[in-house]
């Protein structure tokens, strides 16, 4: 592989208290432009893994590297030092994230949600940011809802605004934490369509999802997690067509049935 990996996770562990192991030694490598879907039962560690990638969750062990840089720590002089607030913020600006519950800011219009990061983090003027924002709102097919407040948008529209908000920062990686799990079934398609478009444009994506159809169609690689570990990974055909482990077989029987 000529390119350095975009994401490199080694030995990642997250323990709550004494005994609860949300992540139990996860290794994962994601190449630039690759779309990786994380599947697995609830509580298998998909969300914790995603949230560790931008340090919203602080791992208790292991190393996460995004675009060659260690996330949350600086390795200068061989000594790992926890990053300060500003350095961490700068790092997170390069990593887009879309949440299950959208988390749009309710006091701002859709367009203002999209451009807040450009104004506050990148230092753009409101007008310049708005120009970028208009374009992104068109891209997610919401040009007619730019002045609407989140309260007045459907779940699918909210999630599309959230995707535009993450894209606005022009991130190197996009993380999706079960982006359609909170949506009414008829609204899932519009969000997946936008994600598919983002994938087609070459974005590196890690998607925790229960949408097996999406994983099969869009993912370059599917990673099956259970009990805080990667149990099996491979191409969609391998994972869905010829699953090897019993746990994956049982899981697929349950979700496909």
């Amino acid at each position: 592989m000529a390119d350095a990996p975009m994401i490199e996770v080694t030995g990642l562990a997250k323990t709550y208290g004494e005994s609860v192991k949300a992540l139990n030694g996860v290794d994962l490598t994601v190449q630039p432009g690759e779309v990786v879907c994380l599947i697995g039962p609830s509580g298998s560690g998909k969300s914790t893994l995603l949230r560790s990638l931008n340090f919203l969750e602080e791992p208790t062990g292991g190393v996460v590297k995004v675009a060659g840089r260690r996330v949350g720590f600086s390795d200068k002089g061989g000594q790992a030092r926890r990053l300060g607030g500003r350095e961490l913020a700068a790092q997170r600006a390069e990593i887009g994230m879309v949440f299950q519950l959208f988390h749009l800011w309710p006091h701002l219009s859709a367009l203002e949600n999209v451009i807040l990061g450009l104004v506050e983090v990148r230092g753009l003027s409101t007008a310049d940011a708005a120009r970028v924002g208009h374009e992104l709102m068109r891209k997610v097919d919401l040009a007619h809802k730019m002045d609407a407040f989140p309260e007045h948008l459907s779940g699918g529209q909210r999630q599309r605004v959230a995707i535009a908000r993450a894209l606005a920062m022009n991130p190197k990686v996009m993380l999706f934490d079960e982006p359609t799990s909170a949506l009414d079934p008829e609204l899932v398609g519009e969000v997946l369509a936008v994600m598919e478009q983002v994938a087609a444009e070459g974005m590196t994506m890690v998607v925790a999802t229960h949408e097996m159809g999406f994983a099969r169609r869009v993912a370059d690689r599917v990673v099956f997690m259970d009990q805080g570990k990667v149990v099996e990974q491979g191409t969609p055909d391998e994972i869905f067509g010829t699953p090897k482990s019993d746990r994956l077989k049982r899981f697929l029987e349950r979700v496909v049935a």
Partner: protein
């Protein structure tokens, strides 16, 4: 006993002047108490247990003891520690200490009402904590805090009458001095009561206006915001 409200008229200028003192000590102490209360609220939510403990103790003491006692303490007891204050600054200090404790808890309730996901979404786009606070947390916290905040503000306005006991020439003390020389308690106390009611009514109106302003999603975007966002006036962009 005949009641004659026209006797109040010559005293109105003095009463209004006294009301001015009431306004000044109330606004000044509430202003100080808001700024300090805000920082104490942040301290109460800090990840440092010692800081949280200090703020908790402060609130325990100053919310748990009468403001009248704070006034006496600052005015009469503080000189024993080498601090002697005139009535006016003593009142400001005591009233600020008292209302700070309430504002700390009110603002904390507002700040903590903001869903953690709101903050995570801002962290995820790379915003620093001060910016998250200013652009994401505070605007939403205000909406929750405004009613209890204004309730305390109104309560504090009436509580400023306690400053009369350390001879601050505010509305209550002035009314007392007038009726003790004219024996017209009913007329003068009624006049003072009406003035207090006017002051608190102004705050009630302010509260209504603020509540309306903070109903962001019902109000829609202002013309100014539309212009800044390059959106067509009145339309859907």
């Amino acid at each position: 006993m005949n009641i004659d409200f026209s006797m109040v008229i010559p005293y109105l200028p003095i009463l209004f002047q006294a009301a001015g003192v009431t306004i000044v000590i109330t606004l000044l102490s509430q202003g100080i108490g808001t700024v300090l209360g805000f920082f104490l609220a942040l301290g109460r939510m800090s990840r440092f247990p010692v800081l949280r403990g200090i703020v908790w103790t402060y609130v325990l003491i100053f919310r748990g003891t009468p403001m009248l006692l704070h006034l006496f303490f600052v005015y009469y007891a503080a000189p024993a520690f080498g601090v002697t204050l005139e009535p006016f600054p003593a009142a400001i200090v005591a009233m600020s200490l008292s209302t700070t404790a309430y504002n700390c808890e009110i603002l904390r309730a507002g700040l903590q009402s903001v869903h953690p996901g709101q903050i995570e979404a801002a962290q995820a786009v790379g915003m620093s904590w001060p910016r998250i606070l200013r652009r994401v947390v505070i605007p939403q916290a205000l909406r929750v805090a405004i009613v209890p905040y204004m309730t305390n503000f109104i309560s504090h306005t009436k509580g400023s009458s306690l400053a009369s006991v350390i001879t601050v020439p505010e509305l209550m003390l002035t009314a007392q001095m007038i009726y003790s020389s004219t024996y017209r308690a009913i007329e003068i106390l009624t006049a003072a009561g009406v003035i207090y009611l006017l002051l608190t009514s102004a705050l009630t109106v302010l509260q209504l206006w603020l509540e309306k302003r903070l109903r962001y999603d019902e109000r829609g975007l202002s013309r100014r915001r539309r212009r800044q966002l390059l959106l067509a006036a009145g339309g859907n962009g």
